[in-house]
């Protein structure tokens, strides 16, 4: 029998009652937690939001989450054939599921709107 990883993932948006989803996925030695989450998004549940872009190189620094309570890059933390608890960073504004607001404040849309005196929504 091939091994599986059980990912318990925090879901939802701020203001919604906290909920989690459980995903059972095939475990491959050496795989990253992000590999597992990308598998979930691609094959099981595209509605799960997990911020990332470089996938392998650990250069974009977009994928930081809590893995079993510890701050980790999802793309360098190893997947393990057991239950793993994944949550968004606690010290950043929560957007959805595992995604928090990490853009520098002066690179956000609202900052540009204010700076340019643009027309708001």
């Amino acid at each position: 029998m091939s091994a599986t990883a059980r990912l318990i993932v925090r879901r939802g948006r701020p203001g919604e009652p906290p909920s989690t989803s459980l995903y059972e996925i095939p475990y491959t030695p050496g795989a990253s937690v992000l590999d597992g989450l990308r598998y979930v998004r691609a094959q099981l549940d595209p509605s799960l939001s997990v911020r990332h872009s470089c996938i392998n190189a650990n250069t974009c620094k977009e994928c930081m989450i809590l893995v079993d309570g510890k701050v980790e890059y999802a793309c360098t933390a190893r997947l393990e054939p057991r239950e793993m608890k994944l949550e968004p960073l606690p010290n950043k504004a929560h957007l959805k599921d595992l995604v928090t607001e990490i853009a520098p404040p002066d690179e956000r849309l609202d900052h540009a709107l204010a700076a340019r005196a643009g027309v708001g929504a």
Partner: protein, 570 residues
């Protein structure tokens, strides 16, 4: 007409630069230096999220620091590698102005590796006639370039940076671009951007393939944006595969193309399952030196796999076992420890490597000033076609991004300032329909679509192609198009990634079709385009194929090559 757009956030600027890699950041700097107000938008983080920061290796430029050199020699090598399809003007631009941009970065303290006497080190990469490639140790070229440019952009008051802003369409009025429609990813808000000129700097399309070296942002958005705006694409069949991408064991925290610099510095033996060197079985002459170009090396490795002599994971072995620990450590310092963390000890074991999608030679068709046929719409960087023809020399891409970024940014800045004070054009009717569209559910139906597209592209539109395979791919793409439908799933909202997937698929399927259609039509093998059913290069195919959209139909055309005789330049 404008009332739906009125509910969108609206920003107005002289120049809008889309994409913040080396090309986009350089374009933003150049436009601002020309006096324009600039918005630099990226779908992820500014300066962190494209191919630029991932480029670990080298940048080709005729500095003449290592040995005497002249841009004309670099040009001759570029033209030669391009297998008859380089646009001579664009290639010249890259080779001639590359040195200026590399020196400019040096002045900005990017940190090019130097010798004790202060001269800049230049490595000898395959396809170049001499040592020409500058780099930042250790494997830090891209991060250093990205960080340096980002630092300059931050200090340039004329540039407003906006991350997490995904551009989904350009707006065009009377044949001229007037701005763009975007989604603010963090909150789902639609955004209208009005601009006097636009520079597309969105990078390549390698995410179309199952195994690739790219980031999740490399789905080829820029090609789709350009097509839908009325611009032409060119040479879309030429996708470069990087021959020795890392395959196994799973390596995290390092880019899969990392083995190239190891081979430059240390050699490294490429072996088949029988433990035999095979590169020279395919007409190559590799003798300790690592000098076989990418298209040939890809061909050799995949031929071994096809013949049943591949490694267990479906590639070739790469071995450094003939080197001792001290040699390895001297060449790669801390990288050796990062490998150890992944359980890889190069002195003791080979790794497995295989060709992976890496770079796109084709792209948006531009004139000598990097303007598309849509007025005021410019393009820069990997998204542009022409400079590299049918095959790119290693190290040319960063140079291209820097040089084209500067040219396109300056031209766009001048254009926007020259235009009569931009009266904000109303967004064309319907421009905001997609970004506002809301429906119940639909997310679950997207499951599997991206994986299927990537499999189809890898299996049938990859390094080896046949008419039957390409027809099969086009049918599969049409099926996927029907499946995803013409409306994004769910509602606009904070970080709705499934919705973003839909916009990505919308572009990726269109772009995939342009690659497959041009590959099917080109009945020959040339550079990165290899047809098993037409294995030879045909002189009557020394031409570009172009693509445009007429309504929803892709129309394929042909254009002559703006060429140069090698004898004139070498």
């Amino acid at each position: 007409m404008g009332d739906r757009a009125d509910k969108a956030a609206r920003l107005e600027t002289d120049v809008l630069v889309i994409g913040a890699g080396a090309a986009g950041m350089t374009a933003a700097l150049a436009a601002a230096e020309a006096g324009a107000r600039v918005i630099l938008a990226d779908r992820s983080l500014v300066g962190r999220s494209g191919a630029t920061i991932m480029a670990q290796m080298t940048v080709a430029v005729a500095l003449g620091e290592e040995v005497p050199d002249h841009w004309e020699h670099h040009f001759a090598d570029t033209i030669q590698a391009g297998r008859g399809l380089c646009d001579a003007h664009l290639a010249q631009l890259v080779c001639e102005h590359g040195a200026r941009e590399i020196r400019r970065l040096d002045g900005w303290k990017v940190g090019w590796a130097r010798k004790p006497d202060g001269t800049i080190r230049q490595a000898h990469a395959p396809g170049h006639d001499r040592p020409r490639c500058v780099y930042v140790d250790f494997l830090s070229t891209g991060p250093a370039v990205a960080k340096t440019l980002r630092g300059r952009v931050i200090r340039q008051d004329g540039v407003t940076r906006i991350g997490d802003l995904c551009i989904v369409d350009l707006t065009v009025v009377d044949g001229a671009v007037t701005g763009a429609v975007a989604v603010s990813v963090a909150d789902g808000r639609p955004v209208q951007l009005q601009a006097g000129a636009v520079v597309l700097a969105t990078g390549g399309l390698t995410r179309l393939y199952r195994r690739n070296s790219a980031s999740a942002n490399m789905g080829g958005d820029g090609y789709a944006l350009a097509l839908r705006a009325g611009a032409e694409l060119m040479d879309m069949e030429f996708v470069q595969f990087f021959p020795i991408g890392h395959l196994a064991p799973r390596l995290v925290g390092m880019d899969p193309i990392m083995w190239d610099p190891f081979r430059y510095k240390l050699g490294g033996r490429l072996l088949n399952a029988e433990g035999r060197d095979f590169m020279n079985d395919y007409g190559n002459q590799e003798a300790g030196q690592y000098n076989v170009t990418r298209d040939r090396a890809t061909h050799a490795i995949l031929s071994e796999v096809k013949a049943g002599r591949g490694s267990p994971a479906g590639g070739a072995y790469l071995s450094f076992q003939h080197l001792d620990e001290a040699t390895l450590r001297e060449a790669f310092g801390p990288v050796i420890d990062r490998l150890a963390k992944n359980g890889i000890d190069l002195g003791q074991m080979p790794v497995e490597v295989a060709p992976i999608a890496h770079y796109h030679m084709g792209g948006v068709r531009v004139d000598n000033r990097l303007e598309t046929r849509v007025r005021n719409l410019f393009a820069a960087g990997e998204v542009v076609a022409g400079a590299n023809g049918a095959n790119r020399l290693s190290g040319n891409a960063i140079t291209e991004a820097l040089v084209f970024g500067r040219e396109a940014g300056r031209e766009a800045g001048r254009r926007a300032l020259g235009a009569s004070a931009a009266t904000p054009a109303p967004a064309p009717a319907g421009a905001f329909d997609l970004v506002r569209a809301a429906r119940a559910g639909g997310e679950a139906e997207l499951a599997g679509a991206m994986t299927r597209l990537q499999a189809v592209m890898a299996d049938d539109v990859g390094p080896f192609r046949t008419a039957a395979g390409l027809e099969r791919a086009l049918a599969a793409i049409a099926e996927l198009e029907a499946e995803i439908g013409d409306m994004p799933p769910g509602q606009p909202g904070p970080y709705n990634q499934a919705r973003l997937d839909w916009f990505d698929l919308r572009s990726m399927l269109l772009v995939a079709k342009t690659v497959a259609r041009s590959a099917l039509a080109r009945q020959e093998s040339r550079g990165a385009h290899q047809r098993d059913d037409h294995p030879l290069m045909a002189s009557n195919w020394a031409l570009h194929q172009t693509l445009e959209l007429a309504g929803n139909e892709l129309v394929l055309g042909r254009a002559p090559v703006q060429g140069a005789e090698l004898s004139q330049v070498a």
